[in-house]
């Protein structure tokens, strides 16, 4: 609990920087708008204003500073605008509405979770294969490690088109991209985890005359759980990024990615920012959920002190 105050301070500093930067970022737009509304602005032509820095413009027109926080199409929306948009689209819209972020969130989240489940399942299976088969270990493991250094997310647009060409549409292409992004971290983490029991522990099981299967279920698998959770937390956020990026190149109609694109193309920055924050909150909630599960599971298994 002693880190609550420091965390709040850091978050406060970030918010302060945001609130302060709203003024210079939006000053030119505000000045143009104010002139159209017939207010006095110095200097009084848009061309002359282009040569003035935004900070200087703000100092010359102090009466306009308040207005920078209320623009309809700001360059940088203020926190309260983003908050209001989030509140409006999450709580005040019916969840079946196309403007509801809950609806868009579910579209992205369902693909994320499906893909994450596929990727994690296959990843664990492959890891078991790698640990028990030396040929598999030597052939596949270097590729699994190398795959973490390459930007596999770049494959996303192609996979969508490829699957579209053979008639697979809807949730599945996005889920596949989520799956392969969570797959490799899980493989690498699980291999490390399944190998974590040391020689002493393996020998002990041998003196008990334990079979290979018993060794797996009673020693290797429980020992790999902390590593699994570490990988799951990386995997779930990678899955979410994958699902969002998968929505971009195809012009998807629904989902966080689609919402960001809509805000971008129709000049509604507040929509983009709200979608971005909603995606961030979703990612945080997912990672938080897995941290909680991790803590509960490890405590129940006696691996951490309560």
């Amino acid at each position: 609990m002693k880190s609550v105050l420091p965390v709040l301070t850091v978050v406060g500093v970030i918010m302060l920087v945001w609130v302060v930067s709203v003024v210079p970022m939006n000053m030119h737009l505000t000045a143009d708008q104010a002139q159209r509304d017939g207010l006095a602005v110095t200097p009084d032509t848009p061309a002359a204003r282009q040569n003035v820095s935004s900070v200087a413009l703000a100092l010359k027109n102090t009466h306009l500073i308040g207005a920078t926080y209320g623009l309809e199409r700001p360059r940088l929306p203020s926190p309260h605008q983003v908050g209001a948009e989030l509140w409006d689209t999450v709580f005040d819209k019916k969840i079946t509405s196309r403007r509801s972020l809950v609806y868009h969130g579910w579209v992205t989240l369902s693909a994320t979770l499906l893909g994450f489940a596929i990727g994690t399942g296959l990843g664990i299976l492959l890891a078991v294969g790698i640990v028990y088969n030396k040929a598999m270990d030597m052939s596949v493991m270097p590729w699994a490690i190398a795959s973490q250094t390459i930007p596999i997310l770049a494959l996303a647009p192609m996979i969508i088109v490829m699957l579209g060409a053979i008639g697979v549409q809807g949730i599945l292409p996005k889920a596949i991209i989520s799956a392969y992004l969570s797959f490799f971290p899980v493989v690498v983490g699980m291999v490390k985890g399944l190998r974590s029991p040391d020689g002493m522990q393996l020998d002990l099981l041998r003196t008990y005359n334990a079979s290979g299967a018993q060794g797996f279920w009673k020693l290797r698998l429980p020992a790999s759980v902390p590593y699994l959770f570490a990988s799951l937390k990386i995997g779930i956020s990678a899955s979410l990024v994958g699902a969002i990026v998968a929505e971009l190149p195809t012009g998807a109609r629904a989902g966080f990615g689609a919402r960001m694109l809509v805000g971008d193309q129709y000049g509604q920055p507040i929509v983009t920012w709200a979608a971005l924050f909603a995606a961030a909150i979703t990612a945080a909630a997912l990672v938080g959920l897995f941290s909680l599960l991790e803590r509960l599971t490890l405590r129940r298994m006696g691996m951490v002190q309560a």
Partner: protein, 283 residues
């Protein structure tokens, strides 16, 4: 025809796997060259099966081009691929990486003077590192235009948090015994920073730098999906997908993969030179 294709593919797989299994279970498996040869053979087996299946089943090049077509494209279009590489990797990713890393170091060293701030930055930074920061790309493209500056900004923000968290955590990684020793030598803040705490933090810092290499490439490529000049790897990928020129897409992905592993390898190489004293680097 289909049967022939499938039997052939299985045969290629069986031969490749047989050789690998023999090598892996033989006495040679501890040798360095065998450890390189086995994964290479595995890769070649996959490529051969891919080529064979695509040719025998006459898969449309719009769905999956054979590896040979990709290689031809890679050789023929090399000048264009090189220009894309320069735009995305050198200008976008590298600039952003350097800016993000420098900013992260600066903030980490400033924050490190106050244990209070450190306790706040670690959880907040770790949290930010897990967020889908790629999503800020449309905002930066709007602010900084569609050329490489906006890509560098996205990359800078993406690499900032992992490097920050690792540097802050690393700077705390000295024991009170070591710090006391520095104090008995009469070392001030700066001397103990440069002689003790920065070197001790290096394994952490390089961890962050290595994670950030992949993020940098992802950021630079994905940000181009939101708007770019008519050059760049992300631009080429999205337009070639539109033109159904998938061999070009694959060629770009090959370049991205090579660039990614080279960048990572470079960082690992520097790490081995800088932190030669660390247990994980000892041979």
């Amino acid at each position: 025809m289909i049967w022939l294709a499938i039997i052939g593919a299985l045969l290629i797989w069986a031969v490749g796997w047989f050789i690998n299994a023999q090598l892996a279970n033989s006495a040679l498996s501890a040798r360095r060259w065998v450890q390189v040869l086995v994964p290479v053979l595995f890769g070649v087996t996959i490529l051969l099966m891919w080529e064979w299946l695509v040719r025998m089943l006459e898969v449309n090049a719009v769905i999956l081009p054979p590896p040979s077509a990709i290689a031809v494209r890679l050789a023929n279009e090399f000048p264009r691929l090189w220009v894309d590489f320069e735009q995305t990797i050198i200008k976008g990713a590298m600039t952003g990486y350097v800016i993000g890393a420098c900013a992260a170091f600066a903030v980490a060293i400033l924050a490190d003077r106050s244990p209070f701030l450190t306790r706040g930055i670690l959880p907040v930074g770790g949290f930010m590192a897990a967020l889908p920061i790629v999503g800020t790309a449309p905002i930066f493209v709007k602010w900084l235009g569609s050329d490489w500056q906006s890509k560098a900004a996205v990359v800078g923000v993406m690499v900032f948090f992992p490097i920050l968290v690792n540097t802050v955590a690393g700077l705390r990684d000295t024991t009170s015994m070591q710090r006391d020793l520095m104090r008995t030598y009469g070392a001030g803040y700066w001397v103990s920073l440069f002689k003790l705490r920065l070197p001790a933090a290096m394994p952490f810092i390089f961890n962050g730098l290595k994670v950030a290499t992949t993020l940098a490439l992802i950021g630079a490529i994905v940000a181009e999906f939101f708007g770019s000049p008519t050059v760049g790897m992300g631009f080429r990928i999205s337009t070639s997908v539109g033109q159904l020129a998938l061999d070009m897409v694959w060629a770009e992905i090959v370049i991205a993969a090579i660039a990614g592993s080279t960048f990572y390898g470079l960082m690992a190489w520097i790490e081995a030179r800088v932190t030669f004293w660390h247990p994980s680097q000892r041979k």
